[in-house]
């Protein structure tokens, strides 16, 4: 029917290249990366750049497409879907393809961009590492994996990308595997995520068999297709149990991947990886994958977990728990990267909360903004450790006062922090507040207040981290201490140290000449440029969907959020039309229909592809409330920190200069110090610490232990089964049978006495017995 008038364009049609190019790049790097002048990093950069370009093109064309639709019929903007049959077995078709819509475009852009910046950053950060090439290969493959998943047209493809990322995370986190701790962290990460993957496999199976027949009948599609699953979920014909269990299983996968409570424990350990890895994993790729999965299959979860207004559901609960727990944990970390890690977890909690409460768009929006400032923050941390604190990440031991030494890093860090905390007009403000506002608007008041609390804590712990790192007096490495023994010192456990321990001498020299004998200093351009760019984006990204400024600023809402209209089936059917890579864009009059999708089944011959989610109108009151809370958080925490550290330190320094006359002043100060000390004890211990500490205790001693013991205990179970059951019981039975046989022989040997008479007796006896028995029987 529909005339093919809707603008599609080359970039949209060939978006699959975005994922393919890095994959090829990976192969190329592995193949002949080592021989290249830049050890293969150039291939990585080139391929990612190419992907970025195509993504931009795709984005532009998607915008055109949407505009066109809006001008003609304000209807459903069809995604650009293509499939290639990959293989088929028993009538089940496994395809590869692309499913390009707003969400996909947004994330493609994001992932490609962040990956590019991270790679640039790594150029400098890892220079001279012994596995420089492997690092870039893995990094590239990693991006490719995420892109595959973002593009995915069907579940199998999602699994593919999902697992690729898992593999690369293993390689990257364990990059410096000479150190047992790193490889164990890598193992833990992979294993924990893999636990979630059970959900993915099972969920896929459930959903497939739930949706397959329906998809074949109505869309002549198949049960793996994302679009078919969405339509099926909303069609009203879906069996509720399939929906429920399918969505639960898939959400378990998301929990594993996105470090949601209680499977979040692998994230902090994953900090063992090089900083660029952490920033990539925690900003836009790995951990977002889970959130993306939920966002992508939103109709399924919408129906399966009944994400309706006010309905408490699994996703929301897990989300809110995660955001609180993680935020508490962030307080008690001394490792700057761990602070950021927990903050990531808690931000992911926000996203999940958003998705769980029907705030789809804000959640996606938060993915978008969070990527920028979180990535920036990690890179800053990297920059600090690289040039400021000698590869230490301990804020209390090796940092402080770095603001003077590293102004740019400090500046960008502060801006990003504010963005994360959600200060107007930085991006965090818009995205986080939208989530909170919508949570409330959709009737989850309790959750809303918890979310506010989370915002407060976010501000607080970030302020603390900021202060410890960049203000106060330099401590440890930041003060230039134990600088010289650094190069000889290999026992040092923390990450970037690895590249000295194992880098070739060329690097050691490069390192020496890089910040030879003077203390902390600003990092080089290759490190700063990405940070600056990211920070800039972090500050403006909010305006892509700045609800406060009305319609024109709700760009994402217009271009990213799928329209919740019913669609005449003919259109969707075409999207699966056979033939390699055939795609369609056909424009059809939408069946008009008053019930909203996701609340009532669509009429015959039409399908819904997205539930009608509501959007909270912006209230300045709430906005200011949020600002207030955040501000409070920042200020209070800041004051604490100042009081804690700086004053004491200044006095102590002064003390070293003066001598006898100030002894009792010194006493007084000493008392003051005691006060501070006491103060720290009382206030912090009394307020933050018990909760946070208990939370942390629970985390380390219970959850983490559970995860770890899950490993060890399965191993012990293995030992037990192997020793007692396998070797003793099963195998024993086998050997025993042999033993029995030969023992019978032994038992019979006396009969073979060698005595003729006994032989005769036996002979005749046997005959006689047989005779008697048979006579009795027969006569």
């Amino acid at each position: 029917m529909g005339v093919n008038t809707i603008p599609s364009g080359w970039f949209l049609e060939n978006a699959w290249l975005i994922a393919l190019i890095p994959a090829i790049g990976f192969a190329a790097i592995i193949a002949f990366g080592k021989k290249l002048p830049m050890k293969g990093s150039e291939i990585g950069l080139a391929s990612i750049t190419a992907s970025l370009v195509i993504s931009v093109g795709a984005a532009v064309q998607w915008i055109q497409r949407t505009n066109f639709v809006d001008e003609t019929t304000e209807g459903y903007v069809e995604p650009v879907i293509k499939t290639w049959t990959w293989w088929q077995s028993g009538g089940v078709e496994f395809g590869l393809g692309q499913h390009i819509d707003g969400l996909a475009v947004l994330l493609l852009l994001l992932v490609a961009f962040i990956s590019l910046l991270v790679q640039i950053f790594s150029l400098e950060y890892l220079r001279g590492d012994r596995r420089y090439t492997h690092f870039f290969a893995a990094l590239t493959l990693f991006s490719s994996g995420m892109l595959v998943m973002v593009l995915a047209e069907n579940m199998v493809q999602i699994i593919l990308g999902w697992e690729l990322m898992g593999l690369c995370s293993f390689l990257l986190i364990g990059h410096w595997w000479e150190d047992g701790a790193n490889s164990r962290a890598a193992l833990k990460a992979f294993f924990t995520v893999r636990v979630g993957d059970v959900g993915l496999l099972v969920g896929t199976a459930i959903v497939f068999f739930g949706a397959h027949q329906w998809a074949v009948d109505n869309l002549d599609s198949h049960g793996f297709s994302v679009q078919a699953i969405s339509a099926w979920a909303l069609s009203g014909d879906a069996s509720s149990s399939a929906l429920l269990w399918g969505s639960v299983a898939l959400f378990i996968a998301a929990i594993g991947k996105s470090g949601q409570f209680p499977l979040h424990t692998w994230l902090p350990d994953a900090m063992a990886g090089p900083t660029p890895v952490s920033s990539l994993l925690h900003s836009s790729t790995m951990v977002v994958a889970g959130v993306f999965l939920v966002a992508r299959l939103y109709p399924l979860f919408w129906e399966g977990l009944s994400i309706g207004p006010g309905a408490i559901n699994l996703i929301a609960i897990i989300g809110v728990i995660t955001l609180i727990v993680a935020a508490l944990l962030a307080f008690v970390q001394n490792d700057i990267k761990k602070v950021l890690a927990y903050s990531t977890v808690s931000q992911l909690g926000y996203m999940m909360l958003g998705l769980g409460t029907g705030a789809w768009l804000p959640a996606v929006f938060h993915i978008f903004t969070h990527a920028f400032f979180k990535c920036a923050l990690f890179l800053c941390a990297g920059s600090v450790s690289h040039s400021g604190s000698h590869h230490s990440f301990d804020m209390k031991k090796d940092m402080g006062g770095l603001a003077r030494k590293m102004p740019i890093t400090a500046g960008t860090w502060i801006i990003s922090t504010l963005a994360l905390a959600g200060i107007f007009p930085l991006s965090g403000f818009f995205s986080k507040d939208e989530i909170i506002a919508n949570v409330g608007y959709n009737g989850y008041n309790l959750f809303m207040w918890l979310a506010f609390l989370g915002a407060f804590m976010t501000a607080a712990y970030m302020a603390r981290a900021t202060y410890l790192t960049f203000f106060g007096t330099p401590r440890g490495a930041a003060a230039g201490e134990h600088h010289d023994e650094h190069h000889g010192d290999d026992a040092h456990g923390d990450d970037a140290h690895g590249d000295d321990a194992h880098g070739d001498d060329a690097h050691a020299d490069a390192h020496a000449e890089h910040h030879g004998s003077h203390g902390p200093h600003e990092s080089g351009p290759l490190i700063l440029v990405p940070i600056v760019v990211l920070t800039f984006l972090a500050s403006i990204a909010g305006f892509t969907n700045a609800v406060p400024f009305g319609e024109n600023f709700e760009i994402l809402k217009r271009y990213v959020e799928p329209r919740a209209e019913v669609v005449a089936i003919e259109d969707t059917r075409l999207t699966i039309a056979g033939g390699p890579g055939q795609s369609v864009g056909s424009l059809a009059p939408q069946a008009k229909y008053d019930d909203a999708c996701g609340f009532a089944a669509p009429p015959e011959g039409t399908v819904c592809l997205f539930p009608a989610v509501s959007h909270a109108p912006f209230k300045w009151s709430k906005g200011f409330l949020a600002l207030g809370i955040v501000g409070a958080g920042l200020v209070s925490s800041w004051l604490f920190s100042v009081a804690l550290y700086t004053r004491r330190d200044r006095r102590l320094v002064g003390l070293t200069e003066r001598f006898a006359p100030a002894r009792w002043g010194y006493q007084f100060l000493w008392n003051k110090y005691y006060l501070d000390h006491l103060y720290e004890k009382v206030i912090v211990r009394a307020v933050a610490y018990p909760i946070a500490a208990s939370a942390y205790w629970f985390n380390q001693k219970v959850l983490d232990r559970i995860v770890d013991t899950a490993g060890t205990s399965t191993r012990q179970a293995g030992e037990f089964v192997y020793r007692n059951i396998d070797q003793t019981l099963v195998d024993g039975a086998v050997n025993a049978s042999g033993f029995v046989a030969s023992e019978t022989g032994h038992a019979l040997q006396p009969v073979q006495s060698g005595k003729v008479n006994q032989y005769g007796a036996l002979l005749f006896g046997a005959a006689a017995v047989a005779a008697i028995v048979l006579v009795i029987i027969n006569v």
Binding site: Q752, S753, G754, K755, N757, A761
Partner: protein
């Protein structure tokens, strides 16, 4: 029926013979016990030949007699041989191989 008595006699002989084979430790005695059994057989055959009124039984008996003679010849030779080698014909000493 007269012939039946022969059968009973034969059975008795047979039992004595079997007992001898099982109980006697002396090779020659065992040999003779076997001969008893054979005799009981011949008695049987002849008796049956009468009862069934057919000649086969008597022929059979003749064969048995002849062959039994041959057997005994061989047997005594063996006993002699054993006696030569170990100065004794007690059977329970002939249990070098067992198990």
């Amino acid at each position: 029926m007269l012939a039946v008595n022969f059968l009973i006699l034969a059975a008795v002989l047979f039992s004595i013979g079997v007992f001898g084979v099982i109980a006697r430790r002396n090779a020659v005695m065992v040999l003779m016990s076997v001969e008893l059994v054979l005799n009981s057989v011949m008695l049987n055959l002849v008796a049956f030949s009468q009862i069934t009124d057919s000649i086969d039984g008597q022929l059979f008996a003749l064969f048995v007699i002849a062959i039994a003679a041959a057997e005994v010849g061989v047997g005594l030779a063996m006993v002699l041989m054993v006696y030569r080698n170990r100065r004794s014909i007690a059977l329970d000493e002939l249990s070098e191989m067992k198990g």
